[in-house]
Symmetry: D2
Amino acid sequence: MSKAKFNVAMIGSGFIANVHSNAFRQVGHFFDIPYNICCKVICGRNRAKLEKTGFRWGWSELETDWQRVVARNDIDAVDIAVPNALHSAIAIAAAEAGKIVLCEKPLASSLEEAEKMTKAVRRIPNAVWFNYRRIPAVVLAKQLITEGRIGQAFHYRALYLNQSGNDPSKGNTWRYKRSEAGMGAAGDLLSHSLDLALYLNGAIRDLSAMMHTFAPHRDVDDATLLLSRFANGSIGTFEASRYGVGCQNRNTFEVNGSKGMLGFALDDMNQLDFFDATEPANLQAGRRIAVTGLDHPYGKNFWKPGHVLGYEHPFIATLGDFLNSIAQQEPFHANFEDALVVQRVLHAVERSSASRAWVNVDEIPTQPTIKR
Amino acid sequence: MSKAKFNVAMIGSGFIANVHSNAFRQVGHFFDIPYNICCKVICGRNRAKLEKTGFRWGWSELETDWQRVVARNDIDAVDIAVPNALHSAIAIAAAEAGKIVLCEKPLASSLEEAEKMTKAVRRIPNAVWFNYRRIPAVVLAKQLITEGRIGQAFHYRALYLNQSGNDPSKGNTWRYKRSEAGMGAAGDLLSHSLDLALYLNGAIRDLSAMMHTFAPHRDVDDATLLLSRFANGSIGTFEASRYGVGCQNRNTFEVNGSKGMLGFALDDMNQLDFFDATEPANLQAGRRIAVTGLDHPYGKNFWKPGHVLGYEHPFIATLGDFLNSIAQQEPFHANFEDALVVQRVLHAVERSSASRAWVNVDEIPTQPTIKR
Amino acid sequence: MSKAKFNVAMIGSGFIANVHSNAFRQVGHFFDIPYNICCKVICGRNRAKLEKTGFRWGWSELETDWQRVVARNDIDAVDIAVPNALHSAIAIAAAEAGKIVLCEKPLASSLEEAEKMTKAVRRIPNAVWFNYRRIPAVVLAKQLITEGRIGQAFHYRALYLNQSGNDPSKGNTWRYKRSEAGMGAAGDLLSHSLDLALYLNGAIRDLSAMMHTFAPHRDVDDATLLLSRFANGSIGTFEASRYGVGCQNRNTFEVNGSKGMLGFALDDMNQLDFFDATEPANLQAGRRIAVTGLDHPYGKNFWKPGHVLGYEHPFIATLGDFLNSIAQQEPFHANFEDALVVQRVLHAVERSSASRAWVNVDEIPTQPTIKR
Amino acid sequence: MSKAKFNVAMIGSGFIANVHSNAFRQVGHFFDIPYNICCKVICGRNRAKLEKTGFRWGWSELETDWQRVVARNDIDAVDIAVPNALHSAIAIAAAEAGKIVLCEKPLASSLEEAEKMTKAVRRIPNAVWFNYRRIPAVVLAKQLITEGRIGQAFHYRALYLNQSGNDPSKGNTWRYKRSEAGMGAAGDLLSHSLDLALYLNGAIRDLSAMMHTFAPHRDVDDATLLLSRFANGSIGTFEASRYGVGCQNRNTFEVNGSKGMLGFALDDMNQLDFFDATEPANLQAGRRIAVTGLDHPYGKNFWKPGHVLGYEHPFIATLGDFLNSIAQQEPFHANFEDALVVQRVLHAVERSSASRAWVNVDEIPTQPTIKR
């Protein structure tokens, strides 16, 4: 019953590093995993934050230089939880050192970096923390779509709104600087919506986008809106904003199809709305499914039916699935290639906004060395 | 195509007389009725209010003495929309004069009066304005129960809460005086909940009730709570209050049965909640049916699917059904006998509250002359 | 107390003619109006439908030729409730005959027609039935915006979704033919959303739109999506579709501003969502206002607090306000000029969709004779 | 920075032992605690379950005899997570051995046992896992009540409904046997509602209750309903049922007071409904507060504003607060005395149901040795 040791290095000590740390601590409590996770070293530049996060989650060692971490022989996996602009150097170095690589979304601060990173991890198990794919309600949505329960898709619409941009105290973090984040709401919020759209509704063909900055001196978008056509014939609208005053963390999607409709909202993350248009007319109705049952995705991993999950559980599920995929040498998604597709759409969004024209996503140039 | 004339006399000129007047004006626009309704005379004691209401709705004549109205040969139907304590004298006189009688709920201010009234109208078409029975969502609930869609009933629970009692400006109306209203929240609000419960879930066997008055000098109940057993084996809770601060007009019921659940709330009156426990486990969910479809009750009478109804429409439907029942000599519900059952339960409520003991509803004495 | 007679001619006998007829019948019951409304003549080409609608609402005369109606001296007002392509000829003829003109939305089936119509009614009282402006919750939203309660606007988003297009039985009506309707979802649904946006959030500067037809042989749009910039600096998204399966009549808008947020949904039309971002942080929350109080718009016209309104009430309020505006010689909105602005935006939408480019609304040519 | 060791023994290995284990594992990640928690030994009779739970949560040792556990010198705290009828022997033995005692609710399977237990722990830190007290929304409700934001209480109503009783597969567990559970829905569900009511609204004076068993051969209540009067003058209704088909875990309360209303539902556990009746009439509304902010209870312990908590977090908060109360020698609630009050009300419920009469809670005899 003794399991292989799995030594983890966390690069980063901010909010999301805490969320990842929790996942490493909790994954074995809820998933049968073939490894004995060891929280070996945490690395960060801000000493106070590093000590606090390291101590809080019981990381064995503290380190301030990520290159030393990546160079260690005793590290199996590197988890990247730092500002976007730092992702590529760390990911590429870790991959070159043969480490398993996990990376926070968005994958990179530019398409070029994302392509290099994706190339670098080609032969290495890799994952991107698009955690919302593993909310049970989202997985159920995917199942229902795959089963044809909503038929041919007509409309996809997604919102991701928070109000952080309207808060003057937020404006100075790395998330509001092009040099560190690459993009604003588009990278931070829209990337989540796009990943879910690609997962649930397939490839995006072309789009018309508007990136807008409300704050006078910011060099990233505060809000990004877009219209799109999907390869499956449906059409979509996306809106991501840090000026959605009244919305703290409103991440929603809806799909209308020939046989029904699905709807999800992160602030009611344990529920999925489903309208079945094939039922008798007098009973057709939106039904709100509490996705906490034993027959639901991850229903046997966490608590009991009717006992709700919170923000951290999809991270735990992401990690649980990733660890098992490594052991079973099976594909895992979202991986760097999936995240690269998001990055390509984000690039198309930037082009469309700059040119005030529709942009065909497939025409965004791809490095020929990247096989996909 | 010429229809029989149907001369109506309205007794009362307050809020509810306005609602009834609207029903008389509108019924022919939404229901095929065999009569040519004529709003002949309206009768009230307050001259200013009488003129205002009479003029507003186009009543042909104004009158201040109801006895003169009842004595007229040219009146086919008398509609009683005055304080509760006045119902019985008018209803009995109208019935004795051979008039069709419509009466606002609750039927009377005492069980004794209600029994006399019911006896008086025995051979005359009669109706009580328990209008909520004809909300489309409520009729759909009844249909689903009758079809066995929720199976054997276990629980029935009803609330009817408003906040009028906490408003000092309201305390002086007839509704807050035993001499005019008979009861407080029990007659005003609980009577509605009981009528719906009897309609949807059948007879009440026994009950334990608490009537409570919060205001220092009032002689009627501000709130009435009760536990009950139904003849069908289910158990119930009821709460009616004028101190439900935060609730303007919250009239709800829920039924849990072996196969599902139904729920209704008046402030979302176009919707019925239905949980079907016979569906596959992973899709079981509360569904919120918008009861505005062509296949729904009254779906062809009013607007189009998705176009909502308001407070007055169930009154119009009540009147439409009643007029057709007269022409077709078919039974109509809620009639005086139905309302008498409500009155008997209200009487049991008073007894139980006074005695602090369970009361068997069937043991409430009934006049032997009333055949039911 | 005798009032001036106001003879109305209704052109049309379909669904919306019924809704307008109801407004003429009910307006005097809920509004103090200075006229004695007379439902004089109804005109339609389908004899059976004409008779049915005429009889249902008590129109005194039936007519099949609208030109004869417009030529009559005894008609004060002409109400146009026919397919879009017929609006302009009737409106212009009625205006030339000196009639007051009311017209169903959208104003016309083309911008050119709309401009001619608007010019024709310049000196005549005129109204367009953009009825949703007079939902109490919408008026309250307008009041709160005007009072500055949500501060500077950042985002406006609107949906108008129904599922009629996915219903094969619907495809043959005039609404699905360019020759009769001019546009599809854009004219039918988006026009409502645009009118509310212009009313609540002001002028639209430029836009990028996509019109899409899902059904193989239709020549109108089944869905129209657009991104926009408003003159006030906010940015907007609009989506109108007849393929919104799962949505019967889902007309919503939301506005995020620097101080708060407003939200409305037609299927909960008695409620307005308001988030006040100036409150103490721990109590900030979306509040759902039941807009049925005495202090609310139209609160004294209809029923009591907590007693909900339905689909027809905003039509009654539109008519009540219009009649009073005539008597008091005050401006009334939405009038033909307001509807012309909507039509201009719709025209820009068509151009943008055709050219796959952003279009500046102000660059849409306007007839110089129209002073605005 | 080295902390005192705190050796825990868990008695039980079922569902709730897993939930408690999670709390012991997680408490240090979210709360500053003065101890170094050591999950020393877990004890259970079912070897397979014991091994599974012990291994899952990393308990150092497995044990099958609780008496051996209690006798160990190296155990600081004993946590009781076994069927109700076993609570008292373990708690008393642990207390006599000087251990800190934590006990799952309800405290005992009879009032007599509860009194003995409470006496036994008099001088020892003790806690009962009434975890719902520490849901942030519930704590905020308590704060608002304490601040007088809802004024004088009029009504308290609580539901706790699940559908487990209607599931034949459930009937054989200890929860459905008087010998092991003491009571059915009353102990399992109503105890939670009562604890919250006592916490939020104060003492219960008297009550009228109905305990009902739907299943033919069960000797515990499937549902318990009650009416009550509180010491503060308000009146209450409670309904707890395992036959609430359609409700998986519906635990709700509402309080109406002279100045406002509060409402909570466990399936939306991150939200609190608050109606402030002191606001201007036109803005009065139910507001739904997302209780995830930095200014909210436990807002700094868990994630970020807008990032929701799940079922396990209140357990973690309960443990965090308890551990700090021990170190600071401050009172902790809910403790055994608090749970004894619940047990006394449950006893009154049984008496009332058996006698079909109102029962005064203060007349339930109390052991004189218990000072409260």
